[in-house]
């Protein structure tokens, strides 16, 4: 039997993108479709650079990355959740929660205790979601939708509906996370970069990362290989809540005061960044690197459109178009047909 024909048949069958070694034996068109998002990103950069020479100036790039850091940190955690085949809509209100909690505890017990206390509280919420979705196998969309609402209520109750401010904004060192520079680089960027590389390595290089891909790629096959699927999903949510707590820390430290709705709506923007990076909502496909690209694309579109004189909100429309195009081209490449077979 011809090996080649076999492969052609294989190409048409149900298949998902593999995390490693994606360049072997692929045709140019497929590479284009798969790496489309990187190519689109490059085109964007080139286009904006031509349109405005300030675009690639170091301070501009730094500014973009810095303002993307909070969204980015959250997107890293959500990438784990999405890879494991689930959704997390609660990260926005969870981020509000951690911001408010850390600001409140800052004045009550001091920043040294406030930070670990806030992390612990946020990660308890993550563990609760992880338990409901991982161990009880409840639908992640609805659980996290419920948690979105519940955590929002928790935050409002906690804060009594008021904004939270640090009393002595000048005298606290708490602002180092959000406002200072280290070796000329803003600390939020450093934290984002550190977290991205740590989680990137965790995902790509460790047994745990391998299990996340397996559970998301085919949960049943993972179970049949002796992997504890419940535990993997649980830890993904705990990890995600750790990222959310970090984002809350950055947000609180940057502003030293906050509304209790600071994270509202972020859950869907974060998800948009992850999808833009090419992660499949079905699970099992995507990487931390791609998510970072997705986050940066969102940041650079916003910045680039502003620089070429378009309104701030034009970025939403552009994001809409590229999200759909990115996902469409991805699935079109997989099914070998541009238009869907839906009758």
């Amino acid at each position: 039997m011809s090996e080649l024909t076999q492969e052609k048949i294989g190409l048409k069958s149900r298949r998902r993108e593999q995390p490693v070694g994606r360049f072997s034996n692929l045709k140019l068109g497929e590479i284009l479709a798969r790496q489309g998002i990187l190519i689109a990103f490059a085109l964007f950069l080139i286009g904006f650079t031509i349109a405005n020479d300030r675009f690639l100036a170091p301070d501009n790039i730094m500014g973009v990355v810095r303002s993307s850091a909070i969204l980015g940190v959250m997107a890293l955690g959500v990438t784990f959740v999405v890879l494991s085949g689930n959704l997390d809509l609660s990260v926005g209100s969870m981020m509000s929660f951690s911001t408010i909690v850390v600001l409140d505890l800052h004045d009550k017990i001091g920043p040294v205790l406030a930070i670990p206390a806030m992390f612990a509280m946020t990660m308890c919420l993550g563990a609760l979601i992880g338990f409901l979705v991982g161990y009880l196998r409840l639908n992640s969309l609805i659980v996290t939708l419920g948690m979105l609402s519940a955590i929002h209520g928790l935050t409002l109750t906690y804060s009594g509906g008021k904004n939270m401010d640090i009393a002595d904004k000048e005298g606290t060192w708490f602002s180092v996370f959000g406002q200072s520079d280290l070796v000329g680089i803003p600390v939020p960027i450093l934290i984002f970069a550190l977290l991205a590389s740590t989680l990137g390595i965790l995902l790509a290089k460790t047994p745990y990362g391998r299990k996340v891909y397996a559970v998301g790629g085919n949960g049943l096959a993972a179970t049949f290989s002796g992997i504890n699927r419940s535990r993997v999903v649980f830890t993904c949510y705990v990890l995600s809540s750790f990222c959310v707590a970090t984002a809350g820390l950055l947000q609180a430290s940057r502003s030293l005061g906050s509304q209790n709705t600071v994270g509202q709506g972020l859950e869907l923007e974060v998800l948009a960044a992850v999808i833009l990076g090419g992660a499949s909502l079905m699970g099992g496909s995507g990487t931390i690197f791609k998510t970072v690209i997705g986050v940066l694309i969102l940041g650079f579109i916003q910045n680039g459109l502003l620089l070429v004189g378009l309104q701030f909100y034009a970025q939403y429309i552009v994001t809409w178009i590229i999200i759909i195009l990115a996902v469409w081209l991805d699935i079109a490449a997989k099914r070998g047909k541009l238009w869907s077979p839906i009758a």
């Binding site: 409901l132 639908n139 419920g146 209520g153 699927r229 909100y313 178009i321």
Partner: protein
């Protein structure tokens, strides 16, 4: 009893039982705690409750069809806001100057058309590209919201037409105009889903898409029609609300998609499609609104309503799981 019957019964009837529970609980708690000297089940209070349920309720009825069909729509909040802007702004367009109140039906028509077009766009993309509705409408949520902001920046768009305000505030047989809208929409969609071929096919598609396709049902057009309906209903909801308020902020309608989905799920619509009822969704909407009012009535922080709804939503899911568990013979995966 066949397996699943109990769970089905609970799903279909439970929301009304829950509403009765809420009514009794808040009435009694209100008495005992005596935070309020007004009775909870006061007629005016209830009429107001219906009116306040209308904006979310009208959209939730549309979301029920979408979810029965096996899809989801996250863009309804943005569609709602954009339609509201078209409604209010079009009345000030120079081309309609001097038309007097004749501009009202035109403005309504334009607002509703906006919703239908935005819905159709979502539907066409889902149909023709095969991209999951979750992603398509997540993108649209951002895109349509972008259009809203492009329209008037961060400024509110305002136009008060007193004839319109009078109409919106009118009460007929005791019910407010918005309530009548909700009633009419629920009745119409109930008819559509239960009595017409389109409705029954929509159920079949959500239930077993492969079987529907094999039986020759064209999945795409049915999905398109349903997206047009939810777009229409999102703008109708805007028409009902903004005729009275006369001013729309660009971030109005944010998080509506989540409230609406919560109401639909509380009403027992199956997440994977194929089962659900607009009447139960109406129950879900009323239950949420009752909770909101009731917590205020007994003097609880109104903010706790979010907490309560979140917990109830997850509890419903847990209950459903317990009822559907098959026992020891099940594969431990």
């Amino acid at each position: 009893m066949e397996p699943g019957t109990l769970s089905t019964f609970l799903k279909r009837g439970a929301i009304w039982g829950f509403i009765v529970f809420e009514l009794i609980f808040f009435s009694l708690a209100g008495e005992f705690l005596s935070f309020s000297d007004k009775a909870f089940m006061d007629l005016d209070n209830m009429l107001l409750l219906f009116k306040q349920s209308a904006p979310i309720g009208i959209i939730a009825v549309g979301m029920t069809i979408i979810m029965i069909n096996g899809n989801i729509d996250l863009s309804v909040g943005a569609t709602y806001a954009l339609s509201a802007i078209v409604l209010l702004d079009s009345m000030t367009w120079p081309m309609f100057a001097g038309m007097g109140n004749a501009v009202i039906p035109i403005a309504w028509g334009l607002a509703l058309l906006t919703g239908v077009v935005l819905g159709a766009l979502n539907g066409l993309i889902v149909w023709k590209t095969g991209v999951d509705a979750f992603i398509v409408t997540l993108g649209a949520m951002l895109g349509y919201r972008g259009l809203v902001f492009m329209y008037n920046g961060e400024q509110p768009t305002s136009h008060l037409n007193w004839t319109l305000v009078d109409f919106a505030e009118a009460q007929f047989l005791g019910l407010h105009t918005a309530t009548w809208f909700l009633v009419a929409v629920t009745a119409a969609v109930w008819f559509l889903m239960n009595k017409t071929v389109h409705g029954r096919n929509a159920y079949a598609i959500g239930d077993n898409r492969a079987a529907a396709t094999n039986a020759g049902i064209r999945v795409g057009p049915h999905m398109l029609i349903n997206f047009m309906i939810i777009g229409f209903l999102a703008s109708l909801s805007a028409v009902a609300f903004y005729s009275e308020s006369g001013s729309v902020n660009p971030n109005d309608g944010e998080l509506y998609e989540l409230w609406v989905i919560t109401a639909v799920v509380l009403g027992g619509t199956k997440l994977t499609g194929g089962a659900g009822s607009v009447l139960s969704t109406l129950g879900g909407v009323l239950a949420i609104q009752l909770l909101r009012k009731g917590l205020g009535h007994i003097g609880a922080d109104t903010e706790t309503v979010n907490l309560a709804i979140g917990i109830i939503l997850i509890a419903v899911l847990l209950l459903d799981r317990q009822l559907n568990i098959k026992g020891k013979e099940e594969l431990r995966v």
